[in-house]
Symmetry: C2
Subunit: 347 residues, 2 copies
């Protein structure tokens, strides 16, 4: 999810302030940076739409355009690597605008001393992912920085896709009564990375959920499911995504925490590491805001694509900008944006 220009918050910053890791974390500090720096500089109707992709009109076509940079550490992890992430991440941002992903660009920043074999493995993985996602990598660039001024490989991908004429997906369409559908379970990507860093082992090996979401979105669109908004759950996880939508759409959101699936390994690791799974990053999961009458049909369609899906909540008409979660014992808690960062360099 490209997040430079999303959400308004207000944490004043003072002269002498510096960038912290938390400014990249998907939480309040990142949104403060957006508010203070990027939105005033570049504000335009495309950014104001606060979508995962900008949708621009060229000739008679609506083109989705998006970018994301990948700095994940380590470069390789169970279920993926930085290359696969860089392809699927940008493909998914296009898909979240309802756009068929078509073309990608790739910009590499390589650190002097990087083994060529490492780069080869990453490029192979990108090619495979591009093939699976049905996109062509048509433009690229390589820069090399001196040893100690980078960290192996950073990759930026930008993508363009085509939005079909009948598609109308954006935060502005989210409305009270919308059902909130979650694809799959939460936390696999973030916990996979954190477990690697912390040296945790699990009885059942855990893998990143890193995947192309376009086939699922294409199936929903083809079945004419009335989708109002889509967003993939990356940095900051489900809770941050719902906060963004609640703010952007000016609505309240209520979810049932028990309805949010988590596998055992994720739940256990979250306990050990002191993490809230609702805030853990995913790379192959999305939330869909859909007309309630289409909810059960949408779940059937995703099941036919071997993807579980759950209705986890609804959009309310009170408390715009607020997200609350009903807990297992019936109590509610507010899911706020975290100020900082549970997990740096997760993507």
């Amino acid at each position: 999810m490209p997040q430079v220009f999303r959400l308004r918050c207000s944490l004043p910053t003072a002269t002498g302030d510096t960038i912290q890791l938390a400014h990249g974390g998907g939480g309040r500090m990142m949104h403060s940076l957006i508010e203070r720096l990027f939105l005033p500089a570049f504000s335009n109707s495309y950014l104001e739409a606060r979508h995962d992709s900008a949708v621009v009109r060229i000739g008679n076509d609506r083109i989705a355009f998006t970018t994301d940079t990948y700095v994940v550490s380590p470069l390789f992890f169970p279920g993926g690597d930085i290359g696969k992430l860089a392809v699927y991440g940008t493909v998914n941002d296009l898909a979240m605008a309802g756009a068929r992903p078509l073309y990608l660009s790739a910009g590499f920043i390589l650190e002097e001393g990087l083994p060529l074999e490492t780069l080869e493995a990453i490029v192979r993985s990108m090619r495979e992912a591009a093939g699976i996602a049905g996109v062509e990598l048509v433009a690229g660039d390589t820069k090399v920085v001196d040893r100690g001024k980078g960290d192996g490989v950073f990759i930026n991908t930008a993508g363009i896709g085509l939005v079909a004429p009948e598609v109308d997906i954006s935060p502005a369409r989210v409305a009270p009564g919308d059902a909130i559908l979650l694809s799959g379970d939460v936390g696999r990507h973030g916990i996979t990375i954190m477990s690697l860093r912390e040296g945790l082992g699990f009885e059942t090996p855990l893998q990143s959920d890193c995947a192309s979401l376009w086939p699922l979105i294409a199936a929903l669109l083809e079945a004419r499911i009335e989708i109002h908004c889509l967003r993939d759950l990356t940095r900051g996880g489900l809770a941050s995504t719902l906060n963004e939508i609640a703010t952007d759409a000016g609505v309240g959101i209520s979810i049932d925490e028990a309805a949010v699936p988590k596998c055992e390994a994720v739940a256990a690791a979250c306990e050990i590491l002191g993490l809230d799974p609702l805030y853990v990053a995913n790379e192959g999961r999305f939330a869909a805001f859909i007309a309630p009458r289409d909810a059960s049909r949408a779940i059937e369609i995703l099941k036919a694509h071997e993807t579980t899906a759950s209705i986890i909540g609804t959009v309310g008409n009170r408390g715009p900008g607020l997200v609350d979660a009903k807990g297992p014992f019936g109590h509610s808690r507010i899911l706020d944006l975290l100020s900082g960062e549970q997990m740096p360099r997760i993507c």
Copy 2:
């Protein structure tokens, strides 16, 4: 100029090889990386066109799409900064495909500890440059890496532009007899950066030539100048650019070295630093391959835009892939691709 996927050369690399600064330098080693790694992985008709932008057809429109990453050091320099460079560089890559630049994305990699004021100054500069270039920045992303894993700020920009129906500009159109037009003089950007690093001072202050080239290209297109190919002279300078075109188009190129303008400060600095000005990077200069009957008219048009221009050579029909330069005393030398790198991190 995005250079991942340009030119074929063959320097075999062996197991245990690592990335060196020269792999990012625009010379033979970079092209070897392209040949060995990127082209085999991603080869398609867009990359095979070896253009500064991929030109893809969407609906009835031809869309140019390109990317470049900027890692220039230092971040600020006379005449520009990394932000201005990131906007104009990508705008120029679109212009070199004859495309009107429309929209940009920006991906930032910030190093923990970067002063916010520095980022603010860069963002202001990007806004100003985008305004001048007539493009909108519509999508963005920010990542933060730990202290010592980056170098202040790296910026990737990708861009999309629209190619008018009558425009047909690509290396494949370069033909024997084409006049080679050079806009402006060479070496200002590279020498400005190197002088900063080496602490050289000049009597006449030297500035980077960093600028948007689209107004010049638009004027040439509007006047129906028969342009066969365009390329901006970035990493590796004029000589590397001509080598790329000679190889891509399968033609020989002859230039007259005395016809290539250099200001005094650039000439002096090149002597002191032991650099060949023909290989020094520029950020606001281009070479145009045009029908010879349009050469003098093209120069008049550029003059009307307060830009000097010179005919520096012609395309021959012998020695495909070779570039020779006639020197001041009538002798000729081959301008080969440098294997390495005169100046790392110039853009």
